[in-house]
């Protein structure tokens, strides 16, 4: 399989498995988020006369796993609909991935007005105020990330990712994803280091597993696993192996301090 993967909202460990199937391969895995953001609170407004109405917590644990480049001819724009609801002052889902040409419906299932808008370069729109039971729609014709907000409730926000292909998956609450239907013809070799987005070293200490498939359980293992045949990092890894255990510990502690 030849693929690059990206994870929205952060995530350093990912397991990818490809299996040849008559109608294409499946890529599946699990995303672990090093930080789970707390629920977004209302903006403090000293002019309020009391608490606001109750609201739901957004599904912050979701992530999108996607191919940065897709096989040629793998996608034809279709006139499909997706939905992003407004419920208890929360966008549901908080994270939506669609293909170019998709029309997203924004029904208001709340007791109050909402005013959905975006100032993103990918798509600028403002649906105005509309009441419960009504819905308005936006068609997304360009790929990119669209930040969605409510003008009335500043704590309401959501992401819409618009892709030029269909090879993406939104994780379930446990972080699992599956991308199906990858055309067999596109599997032309093993995934190499340049095909995977290397995670930043900063904040690496928050990770529970390392490497793209999570097989390294600590930083020392992760360093050593980079030393395989053909690896550009092999000379460095050999040097690391020659260090005394104390010096190796110093290097590991340095990485953990980043």
């Amino acid at each position: 399989m030849r693929a690059a993967a990206g994870v929205l909202a952060g995530g350093l460990a990912m397991t990818a498995v490809s299996a040849g199937q008559p109608r294409g391969a499946s890529v599946r895995g699990r995303v672990e988020l090093p930080h789970v953001p707390v629920m977004v609170e209302r903006r403090p407004a000293s002019g309020e006369l009391g608490e606001g109405p109750p609201r739901d917590a957004a599904e912050w644990r979701r992530a999108v796993v996607y191919f940065e480049t897709a096989p040629k001819g793998a996608f034809e724009a279709e006139d499909v609909h997706a939905q992003m609801d407004q419920r208890n002052e929360t966008f549901v889902p908080h994270l939506l991935a669609v293909t170019v040409g998709t029309t997203v419906d924004f029904p208001n299932d709340d007791r109050t007005y909402h005013n959905v808008f975006s100032l993103s370069k990918t798509k600028r729109f403002d649906l105005g105020r509309y009441a419960a039971g009504r819905s308005k729609s936006v068609r997304f014709d360009r790929p990119g990330v669209v930040r969605v907000f409510c003008e009335i409730h500043s704590h309401m926000n959501a992401f819409i990712l618009v892709f030029t292909h269909r090879f993406f998956g939104v994780t379930d609450p446990d972080g699992r994803y599956q991308i199906d239907g990858v055309p067999p013809g596109t599997i032309d070799g093993e995934a190499g280091s340049r095909d995977w987005r290397t995670g930043a070293l900063i904040g690496l200490r928050f990770s529970k597993t390392y490497m793209h498939d999570g097989r390294a359980k600590n930083i020392r293992d992760a360093i050593l696993l980079h030393g395989g045949p053909g690896s550009e990092a092999a000379p460095c890894i050999e040097l690391f192996k020659k260090y005394t255990p104390d010096n190796q510990d110093i290097l590991v502690r340095y990485v953990e301090a980043l």
């Binding site: 407004a45 009391g50 100032l119 105005g128 907000f149």
Partner: protein, 411 residues
Amino acid sequence: MSTRSRLALPIVIVLGLCARLEAQGWPEQTATLFDGRVTLGGEATATVAPEDKGHFTYTDYERSSLQLVRLGVAAAIRPIDRLTFVVDLRAEGDTSGGDWSAIPVALYVRVRPWRDRRFDIQAGRIPPVFGVAGRHIYASDNVLIGTPLAWQYLTVLRADAVPANADELIYARSYGWQPGYSVGDDGYARGVPLATAFRYDTGVEARIGDDVSLVSVAVALTNGTLSAPGLRSSNGGPQVSTRVALHPSPAWVIGASYADGRFVADTVRDGLPASQSGGRYPQRTIGGDAEYSLGHVLIRAELVAARWTLPVLGPPPIDNPLWSTGVSVEGRYKIAPGVTAALRGDHLGFNSQTGTYLTLPWDAPVSRVEGGVSWAATRHVILRGSIQYNSRNRGPIRSATLPAAQVTLWF
């Protein structure tokens, strides 16, 4: 603490927050700390406009609302569920120069006694329950730069000084930024608006219902009055104020308000003749407001009618009560994503007083039309431009056309 020192803290807080948040990428969300127990929001606003020589836009902070530089940081601290401390620190300066001031605009505790009941109690320096405009003081809540006349325009009345007769009152007409009277404080000082949008009163308030309830009722007991709020009582009695709001549908909000509190300060009352010193001399205010919104249109109207009773000391006598009524109607229309146009018409009228030679409104009626456009360059950076035309039927300067530009950064 010097003015400079008082300014230093909020400026450092805002700059520090901005630097921290910028380093992480400008936050799309409210800044939260301690697992959401502390929530921070802030706003920095700078407004430039030509000098307002007619003092149409001056506030009770003795500066023009079109030349404000404002730094505000608000925090909600929730140590336990159903208990929240709200603090709103604000520093204000003037793009034309002059002194700065820094105050805790709001500093109160909010308690929700029952988790599942929409009933809240707030105590401390609290927002007004009366009307609407007084609770929407920040630029990020508004499209137009100016403030409705009833909530900003300085009338010739003062709580710490009163006219000895109707002539003295009529003589001061149109000089609301520095009326002077012979009873009480004999210096010149600013007058009061019908209700102030720039300072909060101190006391306790309770609200039943919320913004999605069919009916919500709020009641407050505070030290000052709508026109002269304060940290301590200076007029011998509390003010009672209330607002009832109806939300028949999400499109409509209809409100009715009432406030009654002693207006004339103790320092004035103590110096009155025995026959007058026992008077209550209240400010009673009624209000009505309505808002309709649908799609890209929002229309808001507000009426504030205040009635003051002053001591009757000498001839020609002041014909109590003194009425003043402010009416404003504002329309907003969203032209494009992030671009909103607004127009507001505003009038402030006064009932008549009979002096020795003339019968005139006790202050000069004033009208204002303001139009403007706001543009959200990003979600957190808003640029505004507006122009307002003010007219008044008396005074050395009877009209003023004031363009203004404003930039707001909020998080």
